[in-house]
Amino acid sequence: NAGVTQTPKFRVLKTGQSMTLLCAQDMNHEYMYWYRQDPGMGLRLIHYSVGEGTTAKGEVPDGYNVSRLKKQNFLLGLESAAPSQTSVYFCASALGKKVTGQPQHFGDGTRLSIL
């Protein structure tokens, strides 16, 4: 039982390049989230999904796109990377089913540097 797995763990990009971060969960969770973590700013929600085929914007969605074609996978895309997107990206999942107070289960992050 792997929980939440993020791929890749590290990546260096040049400005303007594109890439996709993959998040996979094996807990049959309905809800999935993408966050970015920057020093002194906590975790900020980029996009989230409450079920297969649905996505919605979080606090800081600009410059990112997401897709949830399969329940277990949540993809985060950067179409044209900018240095301001240098960060540590975390994916999380939660059971869903409209139950309040559920824990979010996090992956171990993707460390992304944009040069």
Partner: protein, 113 residues
Amino acid sequence: QQQVKQSPQSLIVQKGGIPIINCAYENTAFDYFPWYQQFPGKGPALLIAIRPDVSEKKEGRFTISFNKSAKQFSLHIMDSQPGDSATYFCAASKSLLTGKLIFGQGTTLQVKP
């Protein structure tokens, strides 16, 4: 109104001390207040959580105190150990339909042997 403000930014205590981390919020619609613990190179993990109808919750050496009228809550770590050295995040949630969390800025705790 969506913010959760956390303090201090960093904290150093001796082994056995009781570090206290504070959080404040504005939105009275928040109804779930978790604390997450994060070790270097890892993702955050749920430590303990409380709802606003309870003033205190204990789990092992970790205690949340909740003051609804002041819109504040805090984490106390009793008999702190070097293994408790980590970054701690408070959070708040009001959305049953999405489970979205608003996180505080984080507190880096160092417990010296």
